[in-house]
């Protein structure tokens, strides 16, 4: 995709041949985020390499291991895809409100409570209803709870003026405390001694693997959620109104758009997706709700969403990339003796550099067809 950005013919043709112009303008506008994003990733990797050199290890070996561990074999690809599944959903929890100009960083809370809700709603029905019906129950419970949780942050933002970044994070801490209370108290399976958990789902009631792959159905659900979100934002009038409100709240209000409903609606949908990630963790991975639900998917999702510039379709490749990076963590630890936090350092570095590179938008003439006209 960067070819368009670097292609010297682009600027020549832009001034000359009029018939290609609309296509070139479209390409140039599309190329800007891709080119700037790739440059940002390269700068981030370069800085990270310096850090690895400074601790006396070889960055080349590390990147090689990262590739091997994340995408080098069919086994590692499947591992990366499995890790990408929850990230798709938690990234949507950040990306959808971001289109309205909100910075929600509490997806972790919706994930853990969604997981608890899914596990609790499954209990009375195991053995009574067929698995597929049970999954629907679990998904609905998780999405409702997650939606209420994040929707509340949106509600507070619009109707009380409470900063949504801080409130969503506080809600995440409260959610983790609630989960611990449920899992250690009311919902605890007496058989779970060392690690308090809810009653595990029987094997035939687990959300299985995609046929022919060692990847659970959560990946498909996540990809569908991303596509639906893209349709919601780009095609529906609801999404159009949200984008206007995200651009300028005052203008949207003057136009008579229901800004409050949009904010609560978008944050609730976003929280629903994060809750669904919790349900998938319970139904496909853990088999029960326990402290492992708070594994940090909500926080990695923030990075995925910002990397994808809050575009739901771009979230899919970015989530797979970051899934691969985290999948390679174990290999890096074993082969190079580096701590497991190496992956976190890389993620943090990339995150900072990518946000910094926002400053380059609109600075390059080649991406802005309005400036192409020659004098």
């Amino acid at each position: 995709m960067t070819a368009e950005a670097n292609d010297p013919r682009l600027s020549i043709a832009a001034g000359g041949n009029a018939s290609f112009r609309p296509l070139l303008e479209w390409l140039a506008r599309r190329a800007e985020p891709v080119a700037i994003g790739l440059v940002a990733i390269l700068i981030g990797l370069a800085l990270f390499s310096l850090f690895i050199l400074a601790v006396g290890k070889s960055p080349l070996t590390l990147f090689q291991l990262m590739y091997t561990g994340g995408f080098g074999s069919w086994f590692s690809i499947q591992n990366s895809l499995s890790r990408a599944a929850p990230l798709l959903l938690t990234a949507l929890c950040v990306a959808l409100p971001a289109r309205l100009g909100l910075v929600i960083i509490g997806a972790e809370g919706a994930v853990v409570l969604g997981g608890v809700a899914a596990a609790a709603s499954a209990m009375p029905f195991v053995g009574i209803v067929p698995p597929i019906v049970l999954f629907v129950f679990m998904a609905i419970a998780a999405m409702v709870v997650g939606g209420i949780w994040i929707g509340f942050a949106g509600f507070l933002r619009h109707y009380r003026g409470v900063n949504e970044t801080i409130s969503s994070l506080l809600l995440a801490y409260i959610a983790i405390a609630l989960m611990n209370q449920f899992v250690e108290g009311l919902l605890r399976d007496p058989a779970s001694l060392n690690k308090p958990s809810t009653k595990p789902l029987p094997k035939d009631y687990m959300l299985g693997q995609i046929p022919g792959m060692d990847v659970h159905w959560g990946l498909v659900i996540g990809v569908i959620a991303c596509i639906l979100s893209w349709v919601l934002i780009e095609i529906t009038s609801f999404g159009f109104a949200a984008r206007i409100a995200g651009g300028n709240v005052r203008a949207a209000q003057i136009q008579g758009l229901p800004v409050g409903k949009l904010i609560v609606g978008f944050t609730a949908i976003a929280g629903g997706f994060a809750g669904l990630a919790g349900m998938i963790e319970v139904a496909a991975v853990q088999g029960s709700a326990n402290a492992s639900l708070a594994a940090g998917y909500g926080y990695t999702g923030i990075l995925v969403a910002f990397l994808a510039r809050h575009n739901p379709l771009a979230i899919i490749p970015v989530a797979i990339l970051l899934g691969g990076i985290s999948a390679s963590g174990g290999l890096i630890q074993r082969r190079m003796g580096l701590p497991d936090a190496t992956v976190l350092v890389l993620q943090g570095t990339l995150f900072i550099v990518i946000l910094f590179c926002e400053t380059f938008y609109g600075r390059f003439k080649i991406f802005n067809p309005d400036l192409w006209k020659r004098s």
Binding site: G161, L170, G348, F356, Y361
Partner: protein, 308 residues
């Protein structure tokens, strides 16, 4: 009165002692954030700065045997984190809240990476001042064993309150925070003032971290912070950007945080995790009660993105 077991009096006493013990990191982080926010910028990355400060202080104290050197080293790293944040945010189109989140993840990652080898060794602790010598009750003595940093924090709150009003630096900071244009017209460089304010804020937040690892709970591990760096940001809003308000709010939060362990110590074990959530619930309730959708917050710096 018996020497052991003071019955239910143990609860308020434990909350009082806990308020002082738990509040100290809040005092430093919220004072740091107040300086930064008064300059018109918000640094959400203080959670990362705090944890990195905790790691640095612990590591330096282990290596040199001096907890004071540990605190100073933490301050230096906090200033570096603040400088990075301040430098990046001076560029156009860069969002200070988002950068804060990124700096938080970066700080946490780097602290876990470099601190891996310091989880085992034991560092010397920061000294505390025993003020409970007059009492024969050990619980009272323990409760009045107060760390030096608490007093430094209290003095710093008073000093900042005075300095914001009465010094040239304080005035410059407030002008920059209230109007970027007015500051420019006065010949002040807003970016430079904000960079220095963010660096100062980071260095104070790192002291809060040093307190965590060198005094209470007094060890270094990856779960050392329970979100103090973030709650402090909410606390600053509640305190209306007033340093003395920050100090009092920090005490309140400390008390809320000490509620769970205090009740547990007298045998209340039901709902332990819910009490653990008390400071977060309190923060949220305070934010809801003190915010308003229609008017901007009283006392808020005019150039602050947070309240817009």
């Amino acid at each position: 009165m018996e020497d052991t077991g003071i019955g239910l009096w143990g609860v308020p006493l434990a909350i009082f002692a806990g308020a002082i013990r738990v509040s100290t990191p809040f005092i430093f982080v919220s004072l740091g954030e107040t300086i930064t926010e008064r300059s018109g910028r918000i640094n959400l990355g203080l959670e990362g700065t705090l944890v990195f400060g905790a790691m640095t202080a612990y590591a330096v104290a282990v290596m040199t045997g001096s907890p004071t050197l540990g605190v100073l080293a933490a301050m230096a790293t906090g200033a570096i984190f603040g400088t990075i944040h301040g430098w990046i945010c001076k560029w156009p189109k860069v969002n200070d809240i988002a950068i804060g989140i990124a700096m938080m993840q970066f700080g946490l990652g780097l602290a876990f990476f470099l601190g891996k080898s310091f989880i085992q060794p034991v560092a010397p602790k920061l000294p505390s001042i025993p003020l409970g010598g007059w009492s024969a009750v050990p619980q009272v003595q323990a409760a009045l064993n107060i760390n030096v940093l608490f007093f430094i924090g209290a003095a710093l709150a008073l000093f900042l309150w005075w300095a914001f009003r009465n010094t040239r630096i304080g005035l410059t900071l407030r002008v920059v925070g209230d109007s970027t244009d007015a500051a420019r017209a006065m010949g002040i460089s807003p970016d430079r003032v904000r960079l220095l304010a963010t660096a100062a804020g980071g260095s104070l937040a790192a002291i809060g971290g040093a307190y965590l690892s060198l005094y209470y709970p007094g060890s270094w591990n990856e779960g050392i912070s329970s979100g103090q760096g973030l709650m402090a940001v909410a606390l600053v809003i509640f305190a209306r950007w007033n340093p003395i308000g920050c100090f009092l709010a920090a005490l309140l939060f400390g008390g809320a945080g000490a509620l769970g362990p205090a009740l547990q110590s007298v045998g209340v074990t039901q709902g332990y995790y819910l009490f653990y959530a008390a400071p977060y619930v309190l923060t949220l309730i305070i934010l809801i009660a003190t915010s308003s959708p229609t008017r901007s917050l009283a006392g808020a710096p005019g150039a602050l993105s947070l309240t817009k």
